[in-house]
Symmetry: C2
Subunit: 182 residues, 2 copies
DNA sequence: CGGTACATGTAATCTGTTACATGATTCA
DNA sequence: TGAATCATGTAACAGATTACATGTACCG
């Protein structure tokens, strides 16, 4: 039950709606956590039932009403307990690498296309992360403590995207040496 | 249904038992795919029912009997179709980064411990990958085509582990600047 | 008139995790 | 004698995905 805690940590800083959470999981949180809006709404519903969050309805003009969630004391305690618990290993599933295992047996062209697509994605993510970094995290040591962890998560994202981009170049240059198969 | 294809790609190269597959998912495949032995046995059972793999029982002396799986033609076609299909985005869940979001609100000591633990893990993985690289993939361009993709997957693992290790150092030096909280 | 952003959800299904279950061999 | 490795599985439950469902506002 770890999406629970990913949501609760996001609510530590500010109150959010399901929609806003989904957007955050799509961008800044995206490189270390992915979740669809359906999953988020379902989890928020459960969190509300368990009284780890509260919700208030906010009417808006020119936009649909929204439901803003905030942490409760109980949610806060649950988070604290989770931080002290053992950290689970990173879980990854990436089809791209599984497809690489088929090189020489199946269509290499398809794999090359997949790498190029991935290269575009990494470039976009990196540009986004760097923009966020230069706007909000230019002087890490001077950040207030509550922002330091968020900065480090961002930095990890930047490093991962950079490493992935370098890899994409190496991958493409090696893949063109593969005779067409499949 | 992507574990399906991750298993099928592993069977492209050689026939394997569920146990061997589980080990591979734990080590060399581990950085881009994780799966427990329970999940693997369940999936193999389904794959067998769908005739994407066949199995033969092998008796051993001094060891339990084992069940060795191989790809069928139908499994092979399923793989080919999958390679041509759109590549899904990488899916990640990593509690460590979620925990970073709690810095300044909760126990920083616990987060530091988690980073140190992760640093050990990355060092071990990197050492393993480098050993595999120097033993089997010293001259990438001279590899047979079927090994090039596998090498690239390994290289991605090496790059990721290196980037992660650099990050761990930066993270630890910034985290010690956080006043003790929680 | 069409697309995008805002905003929230349910139902059915599929996938993955946790707990349970067994049993031989080898090494210290 | 106890731990590790080999080897395979089931059952119950939790978590995630896919398909379906609705509706407004704003921009071009």
């Amino acid at each position: 039950m770890a999406l629970t805690h990913a949501i609760l940590t996001a609510l530590l800083e500010e109150d959010l709606t399901g929609y806003e959470l989904a957007k955050q999981f799509d961008v800044s949180l995206g490189f270390f956590w992915t979740a669809s809006h359906q999953q988020i709404y379902q989890t928020l519903k459960r969190l509300y039932a368990e009284e780890l969050v509260t919700a208030r309805e906010v009417s808006q003009t020119g936009k649909p009403d929204k439901r803003v969630y905030s942490l409760t004391d109980s949610g806060r305690r649950s988070l604290d307990a989770w931080v002290l618990s053992e950290t689970k290993k990173r879980k990854v599933t990436d089809e791209l690498f599984a497809k690489l295992y088929t090189v020489g047996h199946s269509s290499t062209a398809a794999v090359i296309d997949a790498v190029i697509q991935r290269q575009h994605d990494h470039r976009e993510k990196l540009a986004l992360y760097r923009k966020i970094e230069s706007r909000n995290y230019a002087a890490p040591l001077k950040l207030p403590d509550q922002r330091k962890g968020v900065y480090l998560a961002l930095l990890a994202g930047i490093r991962q995207e950079e490493a992935s981009l370098l890899w994409c170049e190496d991958a493409l240059s090696l893949l063109v040496s593969v005779s067409r198969v499949g």
